[in-house]
């Protein structure tokens, strides 16, 4: 069982899971996931298709029970979803509405189900930018408009916790930026926004905290910056004279630096640059280049989810090693 890398005060947690296991027959959709998500901010939920993200969301919303383990949402156990349903809004997978009804009537039916005033419908329509289209049949809506309507439905209860599955799916670039801003605004108001997405650049741009799942196993849970710092901390060095390449490799290895195979890429953070330079200088080599490599979330994610281990740093390094061997 892997526990969250970042220890978080559970009293301030929006979501906690403890050994959450969900099996569908012989398929293990979630494998003893233990994670604690902070309250407030935008949390990214990442994982390849079939990794267990939707299963996790469904358990959190009380739609399916776990095979074993426990989870809490806003401090309440998921076995009692009625206690927190009024504080949680969700867009689960594709937006789901009655096609023959207008957007306004679809939202009205959900508002009535939650016992909300009808004025709230107009508010959320305005928030997601569907003003002027609210009386059109949902059947005529594009995927992007349905997506906005789904977000509007999730916003209806003015939730403390918003869970959005692929919220920017089908949106045009301007719409994506708009929704990203909306998510940040909602988080800035004190809400917790959990976003599941395959658009890694979007996650990187919008999220403060990250959960990565692969094959039902928790790969990483922690602040976004920490993952990028840990997994992506590398420095590329180059000697002034190409003839010194081999000598530099030997010198850096002797000084205890870890290098990637057949390259002059050293595992280390930008703070290690001075020490690297010093090691090269002591070997009588002048460096012409000392460049920190900034990896994107996409690089880290692809490496991590392709690697056979769950340790993000080891996974990242292992995948890189494998890639260089293949090359």
């Amino acid at each position: 069982m892997l526990t969250s890398i970042i220890e978080t005060d559970t009293s301030a947690a929006s979501i906690t899971t403890d050994g959450l296991l969900r099996q569908f027959g012989s398929l293990t959709a979630l494998d003893r996931v233990t994670v604690t998500l902070p309250r407030g901010g935008v949390v990214g939920l990442l994982g390849p298709n079939g990794s267990g993200k939707s299963t996790l969301i469904r358990i959190l919303l009380g739609l399916i029970p776990p095979t074993s383990g426990q989870a809490t949402v806003l401090g309440h156990p998921t076995t009692k979803p009625a206690r927190y349903a009024g504080d949680v809004g969700a867009l689960i997978e594709a937006p789901s509405f009655v096609p023959g009804l207008s957007a306004r009537k679809n939202l009205l039916s959900l508002a009535r189900l939650r016992g909300l005033p009808t004025t709230r419908v107009a508010e959320v329509i305005r928030i997601v930018g569907l003003e002027g289209r609210e009386n059109e049949s949902v059947r005529r809506f594009s995927l992007g408009m349905k997506q906005r309507l789904g977000i509007a439905a999730a916003l209806l209860p003015d939730p403390a916790l918003l869970i959005l599955d692929e919220p920017t799916n089908g949106l045009d670039p301007a719409g994506i930026v708009e929704i990203r801003q909306l998510l940040k605004t909602l988080a800035a108001e004190g809400r917790t926004v959990v976003v599941s997405s395959h658009l890694l650049a979007e996650i990187q741009a919008a999220c403060d905290y990250l959960v990565i799942i692969r094959f039902g196993e928790l790969m990483f849970s922690g602040p976004m910056g920490e993952l990028l710092d840990k997994a992506g901390a590398r420095i590329e060095v180059a000697p002034e004279h190409p003839a010194d390449v081999d000598r530099l490799r030997v010198a850096l290895a002797a000084a205890g630096w870890s290098l990637e195979d057949d390259s002059l890429v050293v595992h280390g953070s930008p703070a290690d640059a001075a020490a690297l330079n010093r090691a090269a200088h002591e070997a009588g080599i002048t460096l012409s280049r000392l460049t920190p490599i900034n990896e994107s979330l996409e690089d880290v994610f692809l490496e991590m989810t392709a690697a056979p281990t769950r340790d993000p740093v080891a996974a990242s390094q292992g995948a890189r090693k494998k890639a260089s061997t293949n090359a």
Partner: protein, 264 residues
């Protein structure tokens, strides 16, 4: 109450108005045309086909003649009701709306009762529509067929009320069967196919094989209920068996809806 209002909002759409009430009205016109045409031809009433029980000339000329169309096509009205209960239930699954509904109201029994309540209101509306159209169609049809309507006004309100109540009751049981089939299959197509197939085919075969067993089957029972009793089954017996079908259906529906994980 929230669940009822929410469901009524979703059902209040053109497809339901035109489809459900429209079909009931069309069948009411058709059945009146058919039963009076047969009577006008002077031939003995046929034994009735699946879902239809033709009235005798004596029935048509009695005080209940004015509502004979409603009770004659009770099973057809029932199948229409079954279909719309099934559509209203299964479409929550096929559209994925059930995820939003269950997340918003985790007490699923309340969701289901709200749906049943809304469908009962719609069934009452549809029954009323069928009866209104039947009343409008019966008199010209009877006059065209040369059938005496002298006794039709004897207990007009009572006959209309009785026909409405029995037709509504039978339709509700049909609807509950549709709801359970939809919950089991999560597909309106499968639920309707099974329901219609049962009335048109399976029950007929069973009745042919065993007339005694056939008296207890849903089609026969609910036809007897709608007609205020038949030669095979008394009205009291039909009410009792109909109540059992409804109760068992509701229990099965509630258990399935509450306990089954929402995975799709």
């Amino acid at each position: 109450m929230r669940e009822l209002r929410s469901e009524l909002t979703r059902l209040n759409r053109r497809g339901i108005w035109l489809g459900w009430l429209g079909l009931m009205a069309v069948f009411a016109v058709l059945i009146n045309t058919v039963i009076y045409t047969i009577a006008a031809n002077g031939s003995a009433p046929p034994g009735g086909g699946p879902g239809v029980a033709f009235p005798t000339m004596a029935t048509l000329e009695s005080s209940s003649g004015i509502v004979a169309g409603v009770s004659s096509a009770a099973s057809m009205f029932g199948v229409i009701t079954l279909s719309f209960w099934a559509i209203a239930t299964a479409s929550d699954y096929s559209t994925g709306l059930i995820r939003l509904l269950a997340a918003a109201q985790p007490h699923r029994w309340r969701l289901l009762l709200g749906k049943i309540g809304a469908l009962l209101i719609w069934t009452a509306l549809a029954t009323t529509a069928a009866e209104v159209v039947n009343l409008a169609a019966a008199l010209p049809s009877a006059e065209a067929a040369g059938i005496s309507t002298a006794l039709w006004m004897d207990d007009l309100v009572g006959e209309i009320a009785r026909a409405w109540l029995t037709s509504f009751s039978a339709s509700v049981v049909w609807g509950i069967i549709g709801l359970v089939l939809a919950l089991l299959s999560r597909s309106s197509a499968i639920a309707i196919s099974v329901g219609v197939g049962w009335v048109l085919l399976i029950e007929t075969i069973i009745k042919t094989a065993s007339s005694e067993a056939g008296q207890w089957l849903p089609g026969t029972t609910l036809t007897a209920l709608a007609q205020g009793g038949t030669d095979d089954l008394s009205f009291a017996g039909a009410v009792l068996i109909g109540c059992i079908y409804a109760a068992v259906g509701l229990i099965i529906g509630l258990v399935i809806f509450i306990r089954r994980p929402i995975t799709e």
